[in-house]
Assembly symmetry: C2
Homo-oligomer: 220 residues x 2
């Protein structure tokens, strides 16, 4: 698609959304141009890293001037594949699931809530955010109607793998797992994990080893 196409390192990919968020803010402030140094400051990283990261997308800067915010924004969206909104289906209407469904931050940033499903008959039919909880049996149909769609697992750990299998079977190709459990998926499916308690434990470590402990880190 791009004459370029060198492979983008994982560490860089993890930072691109952060740059994207900043570029959107800059564009809203009608700022036309930004230097790598300024971008680095806003992202909390070093300027050389910003330049190297951006160079993987292509040569979009102007020496002596900086980067055109709107143009870079366009290219960044292109690279990240967020040119169109991508609906999200949440599995699990427990505390976490309802929380995620209500969280406006998803829709605001291009990931509207398409549906919430739950295996518990008692929860089916209740309202969560703007949608009504549907039974698991509707999953395949909901996925088909909204493709491409991202699946979010917000169930207890023990059923996470089962849910993942059903998502994959339904045709979902990207999954975000909030359940504290390992899930495996076929190699052509994208999978990421977020474990909230795990983050607190990492903080706990650096808190009790307070000599030279930087708990931050790019990561993601």
């Amino acid at each position: 698609m791009d004459g370029h196409a060198r492979r983008i390192p994982d560490a860089t990919v993890a930072r691109l959304p952060e740059y994207l968020r900043i570029l959107i803010e800059l564009a809203e402030q009608r700022i036309g141009t930004v230097s790598s140094e300024r971008l680095a400051e806003l992202a909390g990283v070093n300027a050389a890293k910003v330049r190297k990261d951006l160079s993987y997308l292509g040569t979009y800067g102007t020496r002596g001037v900086g980067y055109d915010v709107d143009y870079l924004l366009f290219q960044m969206r292109q690279a990240l594949g967020v040119t169109r909104d991508c609906p999200v289906v949440v599995v699990g209407a427990g505390n976490l699931g309802r929380a995620l469904a209500n969280y406006a931050g998803f829709s605001d940033r291009g990931f509207p809530l398409a549906a919430v499903v739950d295996a518990d008959e008692a929860k089916v039919g209740t309202n969560v955010g703007d949608v009504t909880v549907r039974p698991m049996s509707d999953l395949a149909e909901l996925v088909r109607a909204n493709q491409p769609v991202i699946g979010v697992i917000a169930t207890p750990g023990p059923v996470a793998q089962l849910v993942a299998d059903q998502l994959v079977a339904a045709g979902v190709t990207a999954i975000l797992n909030f359940a504290p459990a390992l899930v495996s998926v076929p190699p052509n499916i994208s999978l990421r994990k977020v474990d909230l308690a795990l983050e607190l434990q990492i903080l706990s470590f650096y808190q009790s080893h307070r000599e030279s402990g930087s708990a931050s880190r790019g990561w993601t």
Copy 2:
């Protein structure tokens, strides 16, 4: 405390909580011993990495046998500093804040909710989970009463830095930031960031570059 004390790499620290979770499960199943190979399988990593990670904590395995689950569990909790529960104060009672406050996964894993505070007078006094929302002015008092405590920022991006400053002033030494914004803290304060929309965007990238894309990775 330990004759050992070699510095533990960040990448290893990020994996320790995952091992901890698995060890707790194994202990619940009354499994007395585990090999690095089995642990690796459960954690979704390679066995050599498990052994190297664990070796940073000390020499707790037995050759030809494996690791004693209970003993390793004890040492792991020690290393992570999660020997006692550590209360959490959530700032922001919006969708995300209420969600986190209701999320049982925190309390279940040793991080009980101590309080929720919000700057909006209209929200003060309402109930969230087991607690009542308190005004920001109570923050310092709440922190003092619960030390050591972890602060969780669940506010909109623009006020995140302000909140972080107040948390630090109140004596919090570890902060988990859910707001989509960069916050800086003094070097002796531990800080981690979780941005939910950012995770979805990373998935989006790998979804649109589906050649050889592993969106997973140890991470976090």
